[in-house]
Amino acid sequence: MTELKNNAQSNAAPPAETEKPAKVWLREVVEKVYQDAWDAKERGEPVGWSASKFPAEIAETLGLRVCYPENQAAAIAAKHGGQRMCEYAEALGYDNDICGYARISLAYAAGAGGDERPMPQPDFVLCCNNICNCMTKWYENLARMHDIPLIMIDIPYNNTDEVNEENITYIKAQFDDAIKQLEEISGRKFDEDKFAEVCANANRTAQAWLKACSYCQYKPSPLSGFDLFNHMADVVTARCRKESAEAFEALAEEYERNVAEGKSTWRYDENHRIMFEGIPCWPELQKLFKPLKEKGINTTAVVYAPAFGFVYNNMEEMIRAYCKAPNSVCLETGVEWREGICRENKVDGVLVHYNRSCKPWSGYMPEMERRFRKNLGVGVVGFDGDQADPRNFSEAQYNTRVQGLFEIMEAQKKGE
């Protein structure tokens, strides 16, 4: 028996100790995205900047290298460069009411620096307003600043659960047009076989990402849900790459091992489990985390999983998938997504970030909050903050709200 086990081990992949942790691997994949962009720039190839939910499959099929301003802005903000960049943009005339990501990105495009996450300046920009409409103006400004082409895909807001046929036709025409424009920019023909391969990678990444996220369902969870905020960088910047699919698969395996061994990346008690609604305050991650770890509150649900984990089988399904971003779906769909993950991941509270940057996301939260309270019967608490601009966050206010949520969850637990 012992022998067999040893044999099996010697034939298998290297033991876990010598394997690279998935989080390192995932980080390297993102680094490579940016490095590839620098290399392309050096070779004199055009490099693009892309909205996080622009159909990445198109540029990837044409071999174009793109960077992601939202990811860059989050990285700059997390490394405490957010305020500097926001103030630079404000001095250029951009109001402080504008999304912090947009301000950081516009500042970078205008030459403000940004050593926290450098990336080459763009030769074209890819905008898709399924994310929000602020994106449209932001990218128009980028295009004007650098006098470069803007390839725009307009996704109508979905008032209903289903995407209607007219919208599909309308968006399909725009996809075709985007392909044509990008063929001109790249000087290459769009290859259907390559496209199929890229889509297969994107699907594989999405499936692996969803699988990794699904481990939050275990009680106790083998991971801290806050990890997902970091790992989502890969699903934003590299979802068409085989490497990110592999890295997410490795991540899922790690979680599987954690379950088997009773381990977790959450190193505190798990007295309570919550959904964290919205984008975190990147400049204040430590402060966000502090009362949660002190009180043993693990985040086991985040909205990103369904938002970026979409799988499709053909062009039409792909279009439908791109119609479904957090801010482009109707309230009913948004509530259903969230309540689904709250139930699956067994949360007993919801912490809502009223994000001063992200008006669309924060704007519908009061009504969502009301529905969560009614439908889930859990404590729902909101706090004010900002994903990138630290001037919009008060630690004392945040702590009181988290403590209040904790006390509600404690009382409900005792009442059980």
Partner: protein, 272 residues
């Protein structure tokens, strides 16, 4: 049993200290039933307020700190009270305090110095949910402070003056700074102060009313916090929400009361 607990005196009393942003409040209770002493000082976290308010209740009651079985702090400055055995958020403390005063209460509207909150509690007095103001000062005690200063009237006179108003003025800005300039321009137009004050109360009521609607009002509705003493705001809120809203003379002490009650509960648990 008597060996563990020491003297009879030491088993009897609990203390709740509510350190708010603009005032400190302290209550000593006997056996979680009866208020023995209470005190309020008009300065809060980071000042001499907490020490003074504690000294005042001890003096009034003739008790010593050692007589307290448990001391609980609450409010914005709750973390800074070294003598406290434990702390709890003002949300749970308000819920407990209000329930003690009036067991039929289900919704509590608390307007403090720098925040406004609406809490829903269940039939056992347990906090079910709450909403708080965002980072803006509109709809809080601070808003009224600023307006009273601009109008050159005492905070305590706002109620009386607004009751005399015949012709309420509309203050449309929710932002404290904008509302301040609106008030200044009304004064420049020689509008009567009482009418401006009525408009200010309405502005607070509409702001807090929106919060209350978000969580949903269930009767009985009670108002707590320093602003509850201003009947002008309470009446404006009643109109705004079309609900009866009552308050008690302990409105300002409600958080400290809740803390003293929790403190008693904790000391009993320890004894068991």
């Amino acid at each position: 049993m008597s060996e563990i607990a020491g003297t009879a005196v030491s088993r009897k009393y609990s203390m709740g200290v509510d350190i708010g942003s603009t005032a400190s409040k302290c209550i000593i209770m006997a056996e979680g039933k009866e208020i023995v002493a209470k005190s309020l000082i008009d300065v809060g976290a980071g000042t001499s307020g907490p020490d003074r308010v504690i000294a005042a209740v001890l003096k009034d009651s003739g008790l010593k700190l050692e007589d307290m079985t448990h001391i609980m702090s609450t409010g914005y400055g709750r973390h800074s009270l070294e003598i406290a055995h434990s702390e709890m958020s003002e949300l749970s403390c308000h819920a407990r305090g209000a329930y003690f005063q009036h067991p039929a209460v289900r919704t509590i509207i608390d307007i403090g110095g720098q925040d406004a909150k609406v809490m829903r509690i269940d039939e056992n007095g347990i906090l079910e949910n709450f909403v708080m103001n965002d980072k803006c000062a509109a709809g809080t005690g601070r808003f009224l402070d600023v307006m009273a200063r601009v109008l050159e009237v005492k905070l305590d006179d706002l109620e009386k003056l607004s009751a005399e108003s015949q012709n309420e003025v509309r203050i449309s800005s929710t932002c404290t700074v904008f509302a301040e300039s609106e008030v200044i321009s009304q004064l420049a137009r020689n509008t009567h102060k009482r009418d401006i004050i009525k408009g200010i109360h309405r502005a607070v009521a509409s702001r807090v009313g929106a919060l209350a609607r978000r969580i949903g009002l269930v009767d009985d509705v009670m108002m707590t916090g320093g602003v509850a003493l201003n009947d002008g705001v309470r009446l404006a809120l009643e109109e705004e929400l079309e609900h009866d809203i009552f308050t008690t003379e302990l409105a300002q002490y409600n958080g400290a009361l809740g803390a003293a009650l929790f403190a008693w509960q904790r000391s009993k648990k320890k004894e068991i």
